[in-house]
């Protein structure tokens, strides 16, 4: 600034040496800061990246790489970043980038499933996904074994593991209308749901897993009975119409109900995963269990129409067992059609008192003796129609003293009990006999004779008609006669007046006669001498 003013034109020449840059400029802070910030961002990015997992799906429907989230209780725990087909093209393998927080949740028993709108029975779930698209739900397992590749569930679990309560296992031969999410009722209160079901390997039984919420799970005791409360249970019996339902919900979608038989000692709550039998109805669930049922065979030579397995076997009206099986066979010796019926008899229900019986052999011997003596007294099995509307039949044991003698065939396995033709069969035979007799009657002849007789009758009737006509005339003349008589008898008639004057005359005559008689009594001689003239 203190530079002297140099006049233009007089510029001294100087050699210019371009300055060498030796000093480090402060400007280098900028790239250093930029690098530092960049590195910091990169490090945070890398650290915020959680584990990558793979999930196998049946189908990638609704899934979108980079968009579909993995959601646990509304919190995003990851995103699907890649979807590809498995090597065998049968499944879809999705790669998911999880958040670092989720690392500890990815354990052996963690489950994933696709949440889509789902309407099943009583439940409508995942409606939000209609707008937002499908997402992946997850259930965090309790295991500590880490896992990175998962297989997604085909259906969302009905009950997530965190809910307090217990699982129980039911076995049934018929699934009925049960489905995932089917409600479980206790005293008509919904206390649980069907969580899973599967057919056993041999295909005979369904194993149904149900979940009963706390605190209701304590009401499931070891002697609780479960039955299918599916829809309406209508029973038309001698007592009238009985309708059993659980709730409107169960009418629509079915359900399972359980109850603990009252009476007896209170049992402790059943442990989780206790196996129960699922009965078809409440009545069956509470029917006395057939302990030690005895199997017998009955051979009927008649139609067994209406006899179905499960039909009751009664002894004089008391149910003592049920029909197990109805078959058909042809006896090659006699070429006759037969229907062997297998029945289960429950000796306990007969009320046989077994006193002092210690061993099974004793019991069997007694049973044999008992049945032999019953058969000897004429006890026979008979088919009876129980319901005229449906034609359902049942087996009845009763005394038939007139039945031909028979014995129990103990050599057969199962033992054969003697039978007698059923009521229907017997009455049928009787009716057939009557019809046969009717057939033999000379109906034609009878008809001819009847015809002749009728012709005769016709003639007779015609004659009778003529007679009646003449009778009519006679009656008319009789009528006239009676009229005449009537007029004759009238008080004002001439005849009547004449009659009354006649009668007066007669009475006068009678009086004169009496005077005469009196006179004669006093003067009998007057008859001879005549009346003494006035000398009285």
């Amino acid at each position: 600034m203190a530079e002297p003013q140099v006049p233009p034109g007089d510029v001294p020449e100087s050699r210019v040496v371009p300055r060498r840059q030796t000093r480090l400029s402060l400007v280098w802070i900028i790239p250093i800061v930029a690098t530092a910030v960049g590195l910091w961002v990169a490090v945070t990015r890398i650290r915020s990246e959680g584990p990558k997992i793979t999930i196998e799906f049946q189908s990638a429907e609704g899934l979108e790489a980079g968009k579909t989230k993995i959601n646990y209780r509304g919190v995003d725990l990851g995103t699907i970043v890649g979807i590809r087909l498995s090597n065998d093209h049968l499944r879809v393998i999705a790669t998911a980038q999880m958040t670092p927080q989720s690392g500890e949740f990815l354990v052996a028993d963690t489950h994933f499933w696709v949440v889509r709108p789902r309407i099943s029975g009583a439940n409508v779930t995942g409606l939000g996904t209609l707008i937002s698209g499908a997402y992946i739900g997850m259930e965090i397992g309790s295991s500590t074994v880490p896992r990175r590749s998962f297989v997604a569930l085909d259906t969302p679990p009905i009950v997530t593991g965190e809910a307090p309560g217990r699982f129980f296992v039911l076995q049934t031969s018929d699934l009925g209308s049960l489905d995932l999410g089917t409600p479980v009722f206790f005293r008509r209160l919904q206390v649980g749901q069907v969580a899973a079901y599967q057919l056993d390997k041999d295909g005979r039984f369904f194993t149904v897993r149900i979940f009963v919420r706390a605190p209701y799970d304590q009401f499931v005791t070891v002697n609780s009975r479960f039955w299918q409360a599916s829809g309406i249970d209508l029973q038309l019996s001698a007592n009238g119409l009985t309708v059993q339902t659980q709730s409107l919900l169960s009418i629509l979608i079915g359900g399972i109900a359980f109850e603990t038989p009252t009476g007896g000692q209170t049992l402790s709550a059943a442990a989780a995963d206790t196996v129960f039998t699922l009965y078809a109805s409440r009545a069956k669930a509470f029917a006395p269990a057939a302990r030690n049922p005895q199997t017998f065979e009955l051979i009927f030579n008649e139609s067994v129409r209406g006899l179905a397995p499960g039909a009751p076997v009664e002894f004089r009206g008391v149910q003592v067992g049920e029909v197990a099986e109805v078959r058909a066979q042809i006896d090659l010796k006699t070429m006759q059609f037969q229907a062997p019926v297998t029945i289960h008899l429950d000796a306990q229900r007969l009320g046989v008192k077994m006193i002092g019986l210690t061993s099974e052999a004793d019991f069997n011997a007694l049973r044999r003796r008992l049945i032999d003596s019953l058969v000897a007294r004429g006890v026979r099995a008979q088919l009876k129609t129980g319901n005229l509307l449906t034609g359902s039949a049942f087996v009845s044991f009763d005394y038939f003293p007139d039945a031909p003698p028979a014995t129990v065939d103990w050599s057969q396995q199962p033992a054969q009990l003697p039978t007698t033709p059923g009521q229907l069969e017997a009455s049928e035979a009787r009716i057939t006999n009557i019809i046969k007799k009717l057939d033999k009657m000379p109906l034609e002849q009878i008809g001819d004779q009847l015809h002749a007789t009728l012709a005769d009758l016709d003639v007779t009737l015609r004659k009778t008609n003529q007679v009646l006509e003449s009778a009519d005339a006679t009656l008319v003349s009789a009528h006239g006669t009676l009229d005449n008589a009537n007029s004759f008898l009238e008080p004002s008639s001439v005849q009547s007046q004449q009659l009354s004057s006649t009668l007066v005359e007669v009475s006068r005559a009678a009086r004169s006669l009496r005077v005469l008689a009196d006179y004669l009594e006093q003067h009998p001689e007057a008859l001879l001498r005549g009346k003494r003239g006035g000398a009285q």
Partner: protein, 205 residues
């Protein structure tokens, strides 16, 4: 320069620097005088390197986070280009591609080329290099369009809770790239391109 005269960058007064003075000032307006922009090459390199460093996260990190009812979505610049690419919308996609990806990278490469050529004392293609410099100086600011669009969108689309748009971290880096390249262009002294030629001419007489 070889005449040893300095021109004032503010008032244009030509002056001769004192022989031993490190810092000379304009006798008329008191502006600091120098033959060339001070530390031009070093500064340009610094800004250029910083821009190059920021260019990576600018393209890797999302620039825009869109939250709608269907979920939130973060897009990087390249994803935006891919998203816009459609049979009818490809020109728009091209604009974004050119303005946001090609121009910043081209700028960095071009500046690096200029710096290296000056450093090596190249005397060839002087006019062409100058044209290149002018081009990048002119075009550089237009990259800021991207940043403006993003900030406008973020400010305008705030329909909570239906939809909202938020700038992502990539946007800050992208803005840094644009600003830093502009600074680099600014700190580069195009006269350096001619210095080697002048020195050559002086040496050859």
């Amino acid at each position: 320069m070889h005449r040893g005269l300095q021109s004032c960058g503010v008032c244009g007064l030509l002056s001769r620097p004192a022989p031993d003075a490190d810092v000379c000032r304009c006798p008329r307006c008191d502006e600091v005088l120098s033959f060339r922009k001070p530390d031009s090459i070093q500064r340009t390199w610094a800004f250029l390197l910083a821009a190059a460093v920021c260019y990576i996260p600018a393209n890797v990190l999302p620039v825009l986070t869109t939250t709608t009812a269907t979920g939130s979505e973060s897009d990087t610049i390249m994803q935006g280009v891919v998203l816009l690419w459609s049979p009818s919308g490809w020109p728009l996609s091209m604009i974004v591609l050119v303005a946001s990806i090609i121009i910043p990278s081209a700028k960095i490469v071009a500046l690096a080329y200029l710096l290296i050529s000056v450093r090596r004392g190249s005397i060839a293609n002087n006019e062409r290099r100058l044209r290149l410099y002018r081009t990048i100086e002119f075009i550089g600011r237009w990259s800021m369009v991207d940043v403006f669009v993003d900030t406008f969108t973020a400010a305008l689309i705030q329909l909570q809770p239906l939809m909202s748009v938020e700038p992502g971290p990539g946007l800050f880096f992208f803005a840094a790239v644009v600003v830093l390249t502009m600074l680099a262009v600014e700190s580069f002294d195009p006269r350096l391109i001619w210095d080697a030629t002048s020195a050559h001419e002086v040496e050859n007489g």
